[in-house]
Symmetry: D3
Subunit: 319 residues, 6 copies
């Protein structure tokens, strides 16, 4: 069973909107080697796990649970990069229909016009070429050794692609999230490589893949200095045997040590997302808001008396 | 951020393996109106939520978190229905290679041979016709009213299909899970219908969809008697405003009341899944188990001294 | 602009339900060379037609309009083959839920369980292997000669596959429709071959493709004797230049002549499709029917006074 | 059975070519909520309709027939927006091969280069991200209430996306067609909402979705003033019971009345599409035209004597 | 540049037709880890190879060329398993149309009816669940270490799936080919593992994956005894540096040695495939055969005088 | 069985990188009518060939083998067009991470960002709209006449699309390869048209399709003057009966003659592809190169003594 905390695993940094950067980042969300794949692959592997090698199960499943929070983080980062894009670079728009002016004319030239036509300047479960995510991406072979090796390839490819995305944009919103994901992919590479090490493999100098010192990226360096790339969290509310594998020397053989923790030391606030009239989003117009308010008022009087004010928006703001 | 408890939201009931039933149930997991869709649709809608109508956000997201546990439950139910299928009905198989005997000959006649060739008698992210799950199933319009209506259609279609699947099999493993999902789909139908009710819609006698009294199914009746189909859980570790919507009279207008809870009152154990030699799953053979044991022993001596025994399997059994 | 007559282009013949035959016939509906493809390909080619060679446009578009009626015919034939399949061969089912009996247990063994889970014993836009129809099937090159040649290949492949489907079943419902489609595919082969003949090609003895005398099939022979395989209808409510191409000797060079007509000489009734309680279809239960009746009554009194009776079902029966 | 009139349901307005606008409009044609989906969904629902609630069948099918004419209209609008794009903004091109000059150099930078490589500056059955239309978009549940609700969601999403597309371009060709489709989507929203109203639902102030007064768009206002958004046509050549549902007060509860008509009061001419040498389209070169002429001449002498002139092109122009 | 020899890399063994076995084997041809994937993945990796590490290029490309011959072998094995299936087990069929008898009635119950409707009892580029092969299966990362590791996972998964397919059938036609592919997958596992060994990895006892002694399968044992699982061929007509990697001790660390050869020591004849009248295949009927003969005769007289006889069939038989 | 020569079938000409041109060219590689389709279609047709009409088999298969070399050529041409694109037009980049500067900022604006994120400035098995190649493109009907006609349509469509691509770019790298493919498509059109001619068809003035004199393109003219468009190679290491069909007058009826040859008269060198640090490609860093060198040295001493130097890169350069 799964639980949720309305916080992020890493902060989202402010910068200008950038739809092209948002589109590149879609690869990390809905691409063949993106976070939706890692999340579903590790969950399916743990749901279908056979036998009694519990520490391996706990390792795979713990990383799988983390990946849901990555999907949350990258999804919100993409939304942030898209949000308000039509006014980007000094452009202003009126409410829709004001004299028939096209307030989203830039949108039809963007990499994936779906961000504006189908979504409302928000993330989608697709890759950077606009292909929808596919269940065929999920590998769940039911053979532990093979699944571990497949997961190592998956994390290495994810790290490779994120390093490339880093090279493609200087937008701070993009880079903060990408840097965090690079650091975490390194931890996950270590996790699966370490699991294979317990089965006899010696990696010598092969890791990490790609063989690139990501501390050359300032945003990544800060995270590495904080040890983020050698920690693993199990996110378990009961208990986990993950540490039996994820501890001791890192298989990168660089003198670092692996540390298992229950969860990251900090949680980060979710930045607010304003309504977007040019997208007809969300469209809880004043008339409907009044209706909703009236009903809740009535409930409050009859019931627990907790809520006051003129509508869910108003009330939410107060809570 | 997401957390996990290694338990199920509903018990898995024992019965004979039945690969055709497993395949029909795949529709409820990886089909266009299955649990992977509901999970991803509600998560994307909440990650991309705009504006301040927090109770609506908390309702959508809370149901989304529940759906992850549904994916877990249905995934494990399918695995249970497939597990050991080759020995089904008195057949016995030897270890692979014993004289070249085909121990999985029935597998090549099954609805989806991938259950035996690609998976290891386990669930897959595909539908009952073998099509992989697609990101295009996820609707996230960014218009709150439309999203609520789309979600109502999604839950109603899910309930319709699960009622049909119930009619297709008397296998108790299948029916226990399907009955639970029917009861929960009814709760989710109520949730989205109630949210629309707060915006002015009166449903009169339209609900539930399909207009079928599911208490005619004995397994569902038991759950309805326990109130499962009128409860909603928010699964939030901080706090939730879901109750502002999910309370008061049910929009089915049948005299029942909606109740918001933090989580279900009970958690259920996960049934063990044995190794399957005919699938080469998982393949942590004695040699590798020894290696793993040796390493962990060494760690234990140097480190926190927690683990003992001859290998991860042995140790896991002890924890 | 398009118009409709609530009749069929060929009669649907009665026989036992046969879900496997229905599934094979799906290839003719939603397959790569099925009627949805021909319909969309010819419509797209005519919507995108360039230049002033109107007779060619009228030929392509006229056949395109006919294909919509083919989609209608084959869709209803598949539904007929599926309808009532669970009671097939002496089996009986009760209403859903009666003691928890599985009334559709055979459905989970069928070629495409979607016919029972997703559809309600009705046709779907998929092929015989369960793959959904794809827009990539449509070829619209914008080069007239190439489009004509592509269309000839399309009709020839369609005829080949339908001859194979004929060989796969003796069910009379299937065969009546397949025989009609074979005869019409022959007419369409002639149409595109004749158009290429006007541009200089001599076919000699190459046609039809496949080189098989379909009059060996008794159901096809009857249609050939009636001339169905050498007629083409333009279905135009204004006027058409189709005849400038579709007239004179047939390019099969077998002594037959091509005849252009406005429409087929006869229309056929649509067989009724009963409600299917085990599919929760359609679910306009007595309670809702009453509501609908009341409203229409009220309208009738205020308005044109045309309708009477106790509900749409009753009224429909009277009209 | 289906018939055709070589006219459009709405006029196509002249403006500059604009390939990006054409690409955005593809969403309305081949997107998940575009006209191909509505057309196929309503046709499949009516072909698979069960029971005797004929007015509901006639409503669904009548709208389905209209959607074929929408596919025709939007397809031709896209072609118009693409047609001649390479000469757009003062560029001139020679015939292909003249000194090896690239006459379509801009084409390789366009959103979907398929418009120039695969099609010949014409529409395609794909969405704005280049994904081909899929049969999985079609929902045909066989449960009337659910199908009506699904159709309401479909029309609402269609209207939402078209309002967004309107905001993305000031091109008059695009806007005239989009405005017409917004007005018609409103009529269709009313139709399915009204059908649900007959079954007891009261919509109060929820409709239309999105809650936006589209008369703020001047092109839409003109159509609303003419009543286009409250009319529904049945396009039936025999007779229809659509009016039993589509009459009386509109479910938007804004004081307007619904009116059922046989067909729109006017038909509009189809704008000619010139040959495009740079696309090798259509390629009925003088030599082939002569051949075609000779043959038709010969036929004319032997036969009905109707046609004269030097080739199909010439003759077509005269008819 | 590529060349061809009209022979097979392994003999095809005779046994009864078995369409289910044929369908299972499709996974090895068109599945995500089948031979089409390995062929295209290695070819794309070598066409896009960067830098000067030629021995690694030659290793990847050499295996890629071998995979084309595997596609040839497995394709023909599937055709053999399907060929004549309708007469399987004593059934007889007449020529098509003889009294309207269904000569392929069993075909509509088969796993993939496309084998009979779309193909003519021949192989197709699809997997065992009927999904068409997809270009998204090909991984070509452009990072040598990662590509090698990905290839190792690919070969290991291929071997795992083929061991499972072996367990699913005792048909000798299937087993002979599957056994050969298991042996070759072992060689390829060794190749990519060895390449990683040159970069420092020590595999200890991890290989092969799955950890199963395939010599327990008699058909595989024979091939292992002949050394087939430790040889690699480069298939280069100029020269190759493959041996610099593929030599020395095998990374399975079982005392065996790797041997690079130019090509396998033997080539095997291609079994003939008869015409299938019930499939209208190939349809070069006597009339057309005569025409073809006449033309070739004429050519022979005018030209090089090489061919004689009454038609291509007759002539082919003589050559 | 297949063999390889490390050379190209046509030279790759130098010009500036041009990612848009590369993307357009992807249609010729991974598009529905591109070289991957022709290669797989002809190979599947020859693997599934029935009956004894060997000259037709040899014609189809011979062209199929040539298509593998076309896939090689076009794949390398695309890579060439992408290679170094980030420095295009005077831009310079540092090694990754140098101060966090975005060295591939242009990449996120490109038609298909996968060229930079997923591939490493290399070709991919996708079309110009980013859709992955699909096995459903392959037509293998098992009816010889139909397969020949389908192949003629395929080659004609391929030629049409390549003529359009030629019109879209003046880049010399693109044009040299496109011109060669146009010339070869003409030869293949002739081949399948000639095969149909042997069965009685007279083409008169219909061919080539499109009816365009490609010698108006200077690059194509040079190849036509050399006779490239009327030659066909069989690429068979044993022997072939292709000439029985491919000889005599060309079916374009332009006075040219068809000539069958064993292989093209010349082979061309493969241009080197440098490492791309900004893509982390290939990533055989100095440390790993040393390791590889050490191992190979050791082998060389023990073994055949052929290799010297400090690593595979160094050694490869010497060979």
């Amino acid at each position: 069973m799964f639980y949720h905390f309305q916080n992020l695993i890493n902060p989202i940094v402010d910068d200008e909107p950038d739809p092209s950067a948002a589109n590149a980042l879609q690869e990390g969300l809905g691409g063949q080697f993106g976070e939706m794949r890692t999340m579903m692959q590790y969950l399916f592997q743990s749901f279908n796990f056979r036998g009694e090698a519990t520490p391996y199960l706990d390792l795979i499943q713990g990383i799988g649970v983390e990946e849901i929070s990555h999907v949350e983080l990258i999804s919100k980062t993409i939304s942030k990069l898209l949000d308000g894009a039509p006014e980007y670079r000094g452009k202003k728009f009126d409410v829709p229909g004001k004299g028939g002016k096209a307030t989203m004319d830039m949108a039809k030239e963007q990499q994936n016009p779906h961000h504006f036509i189908v979504g409302a300047q928000g993330s989608m479960p697709v890759d950077a070429a606009g292909n929808p995510w596919s269940g065929s991406y999920v590998h769940c072979n039911g053979n532990l050794v093979l699944d571990l090796l497949d997961n190592l390839v998956l994390e290495s490819t994810g790290r490779l692609q994120k390093c490339r995305i880093y090279q493609m944009s200087e937008n701070k919103t993009l880079r903060a999230t990408v840097a965090f994901l690079i650091a975490r992919d390194e931890a996950h590479e270590m996790a699966f490589a370490k699991a294979l090490e317990t089965l006899g493999v010696e990696w010598n100098k092969l890791l990490p893949i790609p063989k690139f010192d990501s501390s050359k990226y300032p945003e990544v360096k800060k995270l590495i200095d904080a040890g983020i790339n050698r920690e693993q969290y199990h996110f378990r509310l009961d208990s986990s045997q993950m540490e039996k594998i994820f501890s001791g020397s890192a298989p990168a053989n660089d003198g670092t040590e692996l540390v298992t923790l229950a969860e990251p030391s900090e949680k980060y606030p979710i930045p607010p997302a304003p309504e977007r009239p040019e997208e007809f989003a969300p469209g809880l117009d004043p008339e409907l808001d009044e209706l909703a308010a009236a009903l809740t008022e009535a409930k409050a009087k009859l019931g627990n008396g907790k809520s006051k004010g003129s509508g869910p928006k108003a009330r939410a703001a107060k809570d």
